[in-house]
């Protein structure tokens, strides 16, 4: 299971080709990409801060958990930090499993943990203003829905 934290952009197509080329027993590969969104039309750029050391360990832990819970053959997480422009990819996850439901669920689980438990903070810098993005109650609810064992998502 692989987790990377980097400032540089990543090549989604190349990452997926490499990911899939090492899969041997899976019939399903799922990916998710998070992109910098400009809701107001005024966003200049996004700044993402993280906690070096803790971030890498947290991503690795979530990837390992997802792998165990959903019997994934392979999981990949890439998350960027630093300055990003609207439309740029912030992060991606990829999962491979025998069947599609586990691949989708594994990716969904990873995303829910990344949103609320990985030490990243987003700041939106717009024309004339700068604001840290607040965590959403909905994100906590999504996380809680997995339950303590992380096996049943009921929402």
């Amino acid at each position: 299971m692989s987790a990377r934290v980097q400032e540089a952009t990543f090549d989604f197509a190349a990452e997926m080709t490499a990911f899939q080329s090492t899969v041997t027993r899976s019939g399903a590969v799922v990916s998710f990409t998070g992109v910098v969104r400009d809701d107001t039309g005024n966003l200049d750029h996004m700044f993402i801060e993280h906690y070096p050391g803790m971030t890498e360990a947290a991503l690795q832990k979530f990837a390992d958990q997802a792998t165990e819970i959903f019997d994934l053959e392979k999981a990949l997480v890439i998350h960027r930090y630093g300055q990003l422009q609207p439309g740029e990819a912030i992060m991606m996850v990829a999962t491979a499993a025998r069947h599609r439901k586990d691949a989708f669920a594994g990716a969904d689980y990873l995303m829910d943990y990344l949103k609320s438990r990985a030490p990243f903070w987003k700041k939106e810098l717009s024309k004339g203003s700068a604001a840290w993005v607040a965590a959403k109650a909905q994100d906590e609810a999504e996380l809680a829905a997995w339950g303590l064992e992380g096996t049943a998502k009921e929402s």
């Binding site: 906690y51 438990r117 030490p119 903070w121 607040a134 965590a135």
Partner: protein, 83 residues
């Protein structure tokens, strides 16, 4: 006990620096926060609403009741917004 304390995002901005070595006899995270808040207005502002403060002790998410014995690094930050 000497701790390395780290601050992130708007907690860092309110306090004015990203890390410091700090000598303390605080027993728990909550004790440490009380000590820090007494230092100046920036710390007081950063910790004014503890419902939006998270803590990691030695890079593991923790809580305000956690003991600080044998700990080397404490980090304070707002709720995380990854993904």
């Amino acid at each position: 006990m000497k701790l390395n304390i780290l601050y992130f995002a708007w907690v860092r901005e309110r306090i004015g620096h990203s890390q410091e070595a700090y000598e303390t006899s605080a027993v728990t995270v909550a004790d440490l926060i009380t000590e820090l808040m007494a230092r100046d207005a920036g710390y007081a502002a950063a910790f004014a609403d503890l419902s939006v403060i998270c803590v990691a002790v030695d890079q593991e998410l923790s809580d305000f009741a956690a003991p600080l014995s044998d700990c080397r690094e404490v980090a304070f930050f707002p709720p995380m917004t990854g993904g």
